[in-house]
């Protein structure tokens, strides 16, 4: 109990003296989000104080002085009604435009972003660097380099939340979602799962380590030497026989995958789809649902044969084929 009290006191001191009003600002957008947050706080305080003061003033000024007192007739004022309809509406328009512009920016990772894959599973985060290193509940990234995290889940819905970066996104089973951040401050930051995922949801936490470029290079060098995701994907591509049909020249029984990533494709159903992570995943697991008209729908499903990690490796490989082509041009 004494220990408890000490922790309590320590935290009281931290809360009163040291803890700032907001969590650390450690990404390029954190400051923007905070500015919007402070504006909203300002609006909240202004209107709350306004309403509270008016009520208190009326409570005192118009308190009932005798039991027989009769209040005068109420006269509704159209001018007042319009005022307090229009002013909040205008405030809302400003807030919507500001917040949405920021959100659209948050939802579009810069082209230069490094891509890291995160798989949520009960109750841990599995993170995978394109260069090969894999981490559990920890992520090391260099400062000043935008990072795009592509998320999926192996079981239930999780959520990748880094308060210091002001970013959050659900990790859904069977689909890819993404978020991005550009870390601006070296440090160690909380990673939380913010979507309830079962018994040890509260333990599904981790740390993001933002390192100086030099430290990051040292960290990469110290790690176990592994192949990049695309290289591992290439092995799988051979191992599972994908290469037999998807011949690079396009002469096989399946379409060539070179230069495919990011291109719009017309499917046999007539639908136009851009080749992205979700589509490649679908093509591996439910091939017929996305087959293209010039080939026979003969590809078998790989549902249940590949782990989420292996699927990501294959996607990384297909993407690397896309960039080879673009580089070639």
């Amino acid at each position: 109990m004494i220990g408890l009290a000490q922790i309590g006191l320590h935290n009281a001191a931290a809360a009163l003296g040291l803890m700032p009003f907001a969590p650390p600002d450690a990404s390029s957008i954190a400051g923007d989000v905070d500015r919007l947050y402070y504006l909203l706080t300002g609006i909240t305080v202004f209107f709350s104080v306004l309403i509270f003061s008016i009520i208190f003033y009326f409570m005192i000024k118009y308190r009932r002085r005798s039991e027989d007192e009769v209040a005068p007739e109420t006269h509704t004022s159209m001018a007042l009604e319009l005022t307090w309809t229009i002013i909040p509406s205008l405030i809302c328009v400003v807030l919507f435009v500001w917040a949405s512009a920021l959100y659209v920016q948050e939802s579009r990772p810069p082209a230069s972003a490094t891509e890291i894959f995160a798989i949520g599973k009960q109750w841990m985060w599995h993170l995978q660097h394109p260069e090969g290193p894999r981490e559990i509940n920890e992520l090391h990234v260099p400062v000043g380099v935008p990072v795009k995290i592509t998320l999926t889940s192996q079981d239930v819905i999780h959520d990748f939340f880094v308060p210091a970066f002001r970013v959050k996104k659900d990790a859904l089973p069977g689909r890819y979602t993404s978020l991005w951040f550009d870390p601006t401050e070296v440090g160690k930051y909380h990673l939380f799962c913010a979507q309830y995922c079962g018994t040890n949801h509260g333990d599904m936490t981790g740390w993001i380590y933002v390192m100086s470029p030099k430290d990051y290079a040292a960290w990469l060098a110290n790690g176990e030497k592994t192949e990049s995701m695309a290289q591992q994907g290439e092995h799988l591509f051979t191992q599972y026989g994908c290469i037999e049909c998807h011949v690079a020249s396009g002469s096989g029984r399946g379409p060539s995958l070179v230069g495919l990533y990011g291109q719009p494709e017309k499917l046999a159903s007539g639908e136009m789809r851009v080749v992205d992570e979700t589509l490649i995943r679908q093509a591996i697991l439910v091939p017929n649902s996305v087959h293209v008209p010039s080939y026979q729908p003969i590809m078998p499903t790989y549902q249940g044969q590949l782990t989420e990690e292996q699927i990501l490796d294959l996607i990384a490989y297909v993407k690397s084929l896309g960039s080879q082509e673009r580089n070639g041009k």
Binding site: Y176, S178, P264
Partner: protein
Amino acid sequence: MSDHTEQGAHGHVVPVGVYVAVFLALMCLTALTTGVAYLDLGKWNTVAALTIAVIKMLLVVLFFMHVKYAHGLTKVVIIAGFFWLGIMITLSLSDELTRGWEMNPAGWTSVIPFLHHLFF
């Protein structure tokens, strides 16, 4: 007590002929919708099936369910029901059909093929 209609406790008596005519129309439309399904009309198969279903529904609602002779409130209630169903379907689809927009590198330019797919 308010909102009483002029017709009081006695509902409108629909002539038997109207019922029979509506019945025959419904049977013909059933035959029509079944027949049309065997013709290759492409996307228009869906349109035809749903249009015929809506016409059949209107016949049942207006005549068998006496809404043609009911007062405005009943009509408002029914329209509200379908309107709310429309809200649920439209806004759910507004998410489900636009998921691709954010993930693909082409970004929002895919709006154009999407619209193309939707209408042609």
